[in-house]
Amino acid sequence: MYESTRYLVAGDRALVMEFGNEISTTINEKIRAMSIAIDQKNVAGISEIVPTYRSLMIHYDPLVITFNNLKEQMMELEKELKNIELPAPDVMIIPVLYGGEYGPDMTTVMEHNSLTEEDVIKIHTSRDCLIYMLGFTPGFPYLGGMDERIATPRLETPRTKIKGGSVGIAGKQTGIYSIDSPGGWQLIGWTPVPLYDPELENPFLLKAGNYVRFEAITEEEYQEIKPQIENRTYQCKVMPLDGGESRG
């Protein structure tokens, strides 16, 4: 993390607060704190904020607030950050059907790491993964924190169509395809829970700064929750992140 935050000009209607030049949970916590502080402050002229790995882009209306004025206000707000009580991030439990037709590359991941399918599932479900940011496609989470024992290189030839909900591994990262899209990740499973549903009032299941925990479910368990998912009443289990880890 930089000693002092860099304030960058990104055109005449966006300002970037850059906190560092690496991907780290400490930087992400600062971004999360700043996002919450901005939301609470309700600064006139800010239209939206976009958290990313190591920065926060603030989109604003220059007819309401100038760059310099906004920068001053953000610098003041940054000083007050330590006084802000941060709620613990949420951990969203994502049910996953592993292997078989749901995870066509499970065997590749097993062979690459000399593990059994049981091991891969156990390792993949063992850690809470931080959602650093959403992007690529609507609702797609960039996750951190996967156990490297199941790291596997991407497919040499990407697939032209991957079903939305597919859970994959690319190098040391894990992720979930939010909509049908092309891609080269090794697919180990599939979640029936949509990450993105434009028909819902809140179309997005995930939010940057929160965590994802994968939970293995059986075909029978899937059949049990399927009607609720189909009529859009299914709610993923959510719990606060274990104490102690939430603040750096």
Binding site: S47, Y53, H59
Partner: protein, 360 residues
């Protein structure tokens, strides 16, 4: 109200408004019109809210049939609009009759035209916006570009068609030249480039390639060199960001740009020049000129003052009157008698102080 029917769709005709604001943090692009100036003026001419959805027409325009009498306004690039074979005046509101057809014959100037219809194009809002985002299949008409046979609902005009027709703005005609200077503010990653690279960027001319769409404009010209590569840890992308990946060729990010990206950005096109960028087409030559963020924001204020001038020029005086009527009907007590106390004139305006006796 009535409908407009798409007989021929043209190259790429989509429903667009001011954009889908507030969902970039979830990875949803803003979309919306490429040339917001032309869209806003088209709406003002048609008596609509400035942000109302219009048709964005690209290069080869559609053929559209009006199923009822309507008032329309076409602004932006000159794509050869004709109404029943006669040239249609641009930057002007025009009464069209039921059964008449508008077509676009050939690109004369610019790249995109905007067609506003009095009453607005009625499609369901998705996440607060009618803008079509074709890659994400959301917004607009069924989340896609228009096809032959589509019929779009038109809302209720804000005034009678007689009042809305034949209005124009005294606009200094933008000439849509094929060699343009686009002003930018430096950053956010200017330091990722060599001095030579920065110098090349500002002193060269770049050609718009065929790879230019609503997402971005790939340009071709002298290579812009980096200090150490074109990749960064992904961060946010504003409209008009000039990305330069490792190959050293600039890409200007436009309305359907992804929300985040991992390439260095040397500069960002200023708001008032985004419409010029949006009207550039393959083969056009672009050079970049640096201004400060303060200058850019002042230029934007000047442009807003100009739009405010149009807004006043085109004001129908109806909205204030309607509001008054509506509020007196609903909330205000019944007036029994009214007496004028005095009047005076100041700054060319007349003021009047009255007293009213109201019902208990």
């Amino acid at each position: 109200m009535g409908k407009i029917k798409i007989n021929k769709p043209g190259l790429l005709t989509t429903v667009q408004d001011g954009g889908r604001v507030g969902y970039q943090q979830f990875g949803v692009p803003v979309s919306g019109v490429m040339d917001a100036f032309s869209q806003r003026v088209a709406n003002l001419l048609a008596g609509n809210d400035e942000n109302e959805a219009v048709l964005e027409i690209t290069l080869m325009g559609p053929e559209i049939e009006f199923e009822e009498d309507m008032v329309i306004a076409v602004t932006g690039g000159d794509l050869g609009a004709v109404l029943e074979g006669e040239a249609l005046p641009l930057w002007q509101s025009v009464l069209v009759q039921s059964g008449q057809k508008i077509a676009f014959k050939a690109v004369k100037k610019g790249c995109r035209a905007y067609l506003a219809v009095a009453g607005g194009i009625q499609v369901p809002a998705v996440m607060g916006s009618k803008a079509t985002y074709t890659r994400g299949k959301i917004g607009g008409y069924e989340g896609r570009a228009l096809k032959a046979g589509d019929a779009l609902d038109i809302g209720k005009p804000s005034a009678s068609l007689d009042k809305l027709k034949d209005r124009s703005v005294n606009q200094d005609q933008y000439e849509y030249p094929q060699e343009i200077t686009i002003r930018v503010v430096a950053g956010p990653q200017e330091e990722a480039f060599t001095d030579e690279g920065i110098n090349t960027f500002y002193s060269s001319s770049y050609a718009v390639t065929n790879e230019c769409d609503r997402m971005g404009y790939r340009l071709n010209g002298p290579e812009i060199t980096h200090e150490s590569g074109g990749d960064i840890i992904s961060d946010g992308i504003a409209m008009g960001a000039v990305q330069v990946p490792g190959h050293g060729m600039p890409i200007v990010m436009m309305a359907d740009r992804q929300t985040t990206g991992g390439y260095t950005k040397i500069a960002n096109v200023i708001s008032v020049d985004l419409p010029k960028m949006a009207q550039a087409k393959p083969g056009d030559q672009i050079s970049f000129q640096k201004v400060t963020v303060e200058e850019a924001q002042q230029l934007l204020k000047d442009q807003e003052a100009r739009i405010e001038h149009y807004r006043r020029e085109l004001s129908l005086g109806t909205s204030a009157e309607d509001e008054k009527k509506a509020s007196s009907a609903q909330d205000s007590p019944k007036i029994i008698s009214r007496k004028e106390l005095f009047r005076y004139r100041k700054g060319g305006k007349q003021y009047c102080l009255t007293i009213e006796e109201i019902e208990e």
